[in-house]
């Protein structure tokens, strides 16, 4: 049996990706299971979804804690303690990362020992679909790695996406992008050992009384530590030659993360700017431009 775990951010389409993969596997003659895990999630928060694929009956239920394949749809999740996408990955497992980095660079950047496959599916999505919605592309990637046939993938995309996307044109673009990802990746052999890495400890929480399990937060204003800047696909960049210091962007930012420098010009705190681009839209003189965020290469800019 193959066990896959998808890690994405709310809105990226991890749930749909796992579903398309499950259906593709089913159409290819396998038994399959797919399901998401939601916590208290909003758009942008870490989301997990699972797929099990097997020639035999699948008697296993519940979360996949020891996957053979992990699909990381947002590379910033690799350093997110809430997500920990690599936890429980079996020895010899495969990690797919959505990044412009090469597999070798990714291994070094994040200290990954396992087989890493990379592709900048955000770029593919922006180029081919026009926006960053990754469900079908991640399903294409996962189908290739799991060894599912191309026809089965096509069938699954049609079946699952036609219920969500009414626009035939958009559906076509999604299928094209998914097949592009599928065919860009080189097929691999998934041969995982049944063991997970040492030091991987699964934590079970004991039942706690209400006073312990719903504790008080005795701190104020500490959310900036959550670094929601990782949610960004585009970043706002200011052009001070045009800016009139009118304060519109400062006022309109839903996050309240635009500050003023010594000269009274605005700048975003990129640690927490979610990249909604309300500021760019509202600037009366168009002094703010939208630039594709490449997190792994922009740490200096993030400060």
């Amino acid at each position: 049996m193959l066990r896959l775990r998808f890690h994405g951010r709310g809105g990226q389409g991890a749930k749909v990706a796992s579903r398309v993969l499950g259906t593709a596997a089913f159409l290819d003659g396998y038994n399959a299971q797919d399901f998401p895990l939601y916590g208290a999630e909003r758009r942008g928060a870490p989301i997990t979804a699972f797929t099990r694929i097997s020639r035999d009956d699948i008697m296993e239920r519940g979360l996949v804690s020891d996957p053979d394949i992990v699909i990381v749809m947002d590379e910033t999740l690799l350093s997110d303690p809430q997500a920990m996408p690599l936890s429980g990955l079996k020895k010899g497992g495969i990690v797919f990362v959505n990044t412009p980095l090469s597999p070798l660079e990714t291994k070094e950047e994040y200290g990954i020992e396992d087989h890493v496959i990379t592709l900048d599916i955000t770029k593919v999505s922006l180029d081919m679909i026009g926006k960053s919605v990754l469900s079908s592309l991640a399903a294409g990637v996962a189908s290739r790695i799991a060894g599912i046939g191309e026809e089965a993938l096509k069938g699954a995309l049609e079946k699952e996406l036609s219920g969500i996307i009414s626009d035939r044109d958009l559906l076509g673009k999604n299928t094209e992008a998914a097949l592009y990802c599928y065919n860009t990746l080189v097929p691999v052999q998934v041969k995982t050992a049944e063991t997970i890495r040492e030091k991987e400890n699964v934590i079970t929480l004991p039942f706690e009384t209400a006073r312990v399990s719903s504790p008080a937060i005795n701190a104020t204003g500490n959310t900036p530590l959550r670094r929601t800047g990782n949610w960004r696909v585009f970043r706002p960049v200011w052009n001070y030659d045009i800016c009139t210091r009118c304060m519109t962007c400062v006022s309109r930012c839903p996050e309240g993360c635009i500050r003023l420098n010594e000269d009274g010009y605005p700048y975003a705190d990129y640690d927490n700017c979610k990249g909604c681009l309300v500021c760019a839209e509202e600037c009366p003189v168009k002094a703010i431009t939208k630039v594709r965020e490449i997190h792994s290469r922009s740490e200096e800019g993030d400060q």
């Binding site: 942008g44 701190a219 204003g221 959310t223 900036p224 839903p254 996050e255 309240g256």
Partner: protein
């Protein structure tokens, strides 16, 4: 008590009483509203928050607020507020709390809670003349659990539970409840509608409300990018359009007397607002649903006609 008015966004207080890093969606119009509200209210407040998107702003071990915060079930934030208010009053009376340390009690809830589940507990609180602020961020559905239909969902909208189909191509067939009038029939000292696109109006309404003891109620119409289906960058624009088309009148009521605080010089056609959102897209394609579009426009026109404000 400072009730001086401000005239431009440059005069908004610079203090941020809600910090970034929350779990709210990028471009959430509700978050922008809340940011302004907290600028107006200051940090000596306690927020009593009914279950909804905004209970996720505070997730252990993080809080974006500079003030205290209490989580309640959807139906009972006003009852929670009563408990907090009573506790504060008793502590002050017994000399265990310096009156200087007194806090304003603020209820924060979505429309599902305000228009539906908590309507009776809110009615009770207004009836008892509870001294509190109530802020409802109205995204016109139960946003947190998948955008299901609520008492605030407008006619013609697609929600999780009113998908347009062959039988009912229009989506929701019900009209939005008029929460402002329901509240107003209780004759509380102060009620206002606000919008994140009009922060100066919002700020001045909070300043005005400050002079009243008793219930001070605010409803903010707020664009919700994932629920309404639009690019987050258009959030403020859509909030503006809902006001400029006349769909969301900005007004206030002082002891039951209603006054509009902003009347667009020229009303934009509602279509301009509707066509930007996925939740209304079925009204335009594959076929234009003329009747539905017409009836939405008529509903808006009738409102302004009734108030003799239609140019």
């Amino acid at each position: 008590m400072d009730t001086s008015t401000i005239r431009s966004i440059k005069e908004l207080p610079p203090e941020e009483n809600m910090l970034p890093g929350t779990a709210a969606c990028a471009g959430c119009g509700g978050l922008l509203t809340l940011r302004y509200c907290l600028k107006a209210l200051g940090d000596k407040i306690v927020i009593v928050n009914a279950a909804g998107c905004f209970t996720l702003l505070t997730i252990y071990p993080f809080s974006p607020f500079r003030n205290s915060w209490l989580y309640t079930a959807m139906a009972c934030a006003p009852a929670g507020a009563q408990g907090v208010r009573d506790a504060l009053d008793i502590l002050i009376k017994k000399g265990k709390l310096d009156p200087e340390e007194n806090l304003k009690v603020v209820v924060l809830s979505g429309d599902g809670s305000a228009y539906d589940m908590a309507l009776s507990s809110t009615s009770g609180a207004i009836y008892r003349n509870l001294d509190f602020y109530y802020i409802c961020y109205d995204n016109e559905a139960y946003g947190n659990t998948g955008f299901q239909h609520s008492g605030a969902s407008p006619f013609g909208s697609r929600t999780g539970t009113t998908p347009p189909g062959k039988e009912v191509p229009v989506g929701s067939q019900l009209q939005k409840k008029n929460l402002f009038d329901i509240w107003n029939s209780h004759k509380p000292p102060y009620i206002a509608t606000v919008s994140p696109a009009y922060p100066v109006d919002l700020m001045n309404k909070f300043k005005k409300a400050e002079q009243f003891k008793g219930p001070k109620l605010f409803i903010s119409h707020i664009p919700c990018p994932p629920g309404w289906g639009f690019d987050p960058s258009r959030s403020v624009r859509l909030a503006k359009l809902s006001v400029e088309t006349g769909l969301w009148p900005l007004k206030e009521s002082v002891h039951g007397e209603v006054e509009h605080t902003y009347v667009p010089k020229k009303f934009k056609p509602v279509e301009e607002y509707l066509k930007e959102q996925e939740r209304f897209s079925h009204l335009f394609k594959p076929v234009r649903q003329e009747d539905a579009l017409k009836s939405i426009q008529e509903m808006v026109d009738e409102y302004w006609k009734k108030h003799e404000l239609l140019p």
